[in-house]
Amino acid sequence: MMDRYTRLQLVGIYAALAVFLTFILLPFFEMFMASLRPLEHLFRAPYQFWSDDFSFDAYRKMWVTVPLLGRYIWNSIYISFAVTGLTMVFVIPAAYAFARLDFPFKNATLGMFLSVNMFTGAVLLIPLYRVMRTMGLLNTYWAMIVPGVAFLIPTGIWLLRSYLEKIPRELEEAAFVDGASRIYTLRRVVLPLAVPGLIVVGVAVFIGAYAQQYLFAITFNQTRELQPLPAGLNEFIGYQSVNWNEMMAAALVGVLPVMVIFLFLQKYLVAGLTAGAVKE
């Protein structure tokens, strides 16, 4: 009953959503239009919303122009998953520690993690290259995974921490009273409750990995077969001209798998798992 909206409210919500989504999706609309136009008509003034020569040709041609495109998309997904998995392994325990426990140097360590965010990869590039080279990681998948994990751990800890803080302590204390060890509590009590936060942080890390790939890929990796999509998109840039329509088509296609994954996951954002567990 609480969730019933008046007609006016409903209209208002949908209208607001429409405006919000228009803002969000406007560039994609533009990119999609660009992918449908033939190159000669890509730039035309005054702006035309529709024209006769729209076609999906670019979507077909892009596989030819950049033969390894499928491989690149796969690489992107693979690298992002690897980074996410590895990062979460480091982040979950650490976030829990920061959220619940007290220990010496707690704030200092948290500050240290935060400060990693303050340096961007771009500036650290050359010393990082030397580190990668010394460790023999260049030109492998690891070249792109390892720096990605390193830069995402701080963000992951920071984000997950605030979710974990919100889980009622009483639940843990209840577990202790029943004789559970710390690890058990963490595993069986806290984690299930943290699922919405875990998912969101996991997705955030995944997407962060996807976004960071570009810099690490072009600097630390020379093997074409291992390149992720953002680096692969460079191949649409020619000597004097750029195959914009195909590049946009490729970018949009590359994004689809991630969207599908999220479509599947967003249901889990619905919490209500704590409902009824603790009566205030």
Partner: protein, 306 residues
């Protein structure tokens, strides 16, 4: 905190001291970071005291920093960067709260809408920015085109060609890039708020606005505050957006600290001077964050972590 140590000592296997347990949890992450990032960081710090460039380096002490302190342009850049950060983060927070609330509404199609909010986050930033580049184009872009067609403006407007319009256009794009992620985070936080609280208030006759103000906001405040700080740091260092749109132009109108650093270090290959700028960024952000954390602690105490 709870009375864990006492309980532990009663059991057959003693629970670890809290600090040890904590360190076991945190150590792997710390080690990983130290190995991969510590050396480059230290190296950058060291480089800032040299005039390192492509050919080699010589120690110059604080010369790089002194030079920066002198330049009026650099001071302008700092101010511009803080203004950029402040404006963009403020806009983002407002938009994100509104967005999260809208997406939290129990209306048909909400699943679809949530997914539709994602694209700016998922697409490589560079590609998104190219999209905006086209939108802002005076001759070929939608914005200028539609505005001309409906008679808002006379001729094409080149948003990125004039200093002020370029700055604000960049802010809009930055907001666009940053909004989806935090919106979804806030949404997750909102979803985690116990329904019982809302029901209790509803039964008492509280209006939606009241429920929002007195229940939702306080409940998700820790998330808001920590996201805001993260967002601020990222926005401060937001590079690709400005770089692709204007490369810091026109005439330095959109040059923030990170653009300046990149141009010096990577563009001009003046690693030493670039490193000095990077260190300045870190110092400024550290001061900002410390001040912020101070406030955050106060907020946590006020609203309480349960």
């Amino acid at each position: 905190m709870s009375a864990t140590p006492n309980i532990g000592s009663k059991r057959k296997f003693s629970a670890m001291p809290e600090a040890t347990f904590a360190w076991i949890l945190v150590a792997p992450a710390v080690l990983f970071i130290l190995v991969i990032i510590a050396w480059p960081l230290v190296e950058t710090f060291r480089l800032s005291f040299t005039d390192a460039n492509l050919g080699g380096e010589t120690y110059v002490g604080f010369e790089n920093y002194a030079e920066l302190l002198d330049k009026q342009k650099f001071h302008d850049t700092i101010i511009r960067t803080f203004y950029w950060m402040g404006l963009s983060v403020a806009l983002k927070l407002v938009l994100e709260l509104i967005g999260a609330t809208l997406l939290n509404a129990a209306i048909p199609g909400k699943g679809l809408f949530r997914v539709l909010v994602m694209p700016p986050w998922v697409i490589p930033v560079a590609i998104g920015c190219i999209g905006w580049l086209w939108l802002y184009n005076g001759y070929f872009g939608i914005i200028s085109g539609v505005a001309q067609r409906i008679g808002l403006i006379d001729g094409p407007i080149e948003f990125l060609a004039h200093k002020t319009s370029a700055f604000y256009s960049a802010v809009v794009t930055d907001v666009w890039v940053g909004t989806p992620m935090v919106t979804l985070f806030l949404l997750a936080a909102m979803q985690g708020v116990s329904r019982d609280l809302y029901e209790a208030a509803w039964v008492d006759g509280a209006s939606r606005w009241y429920r929002f103000r007195r229940i939702t906001i306080p409940q998700i405040m820790p998330v808001i505050v920590s996201m805001a700080l993260l967002s601020a740091i990222w926005t401060f260092n937001s590079f690709e957006i400005i770089w692709i749109l204007t490369q810091g132009g026109p005439r330095g109108g959109t040059t923030t600290l990170i653009i300046d650093t990149y141009k010096t270090a990577i563009g001009n290959y003046k690693f030493g001077e670039g490193a000095a700028r990077a260190v300045v960024i870190v110092i400024l952000l550290a001061i900002f964050s410390t001040a912020y954390m101070f406030i955050l602690n106060k907020v946590n105490k006020k609203y309480g972590s349960k």
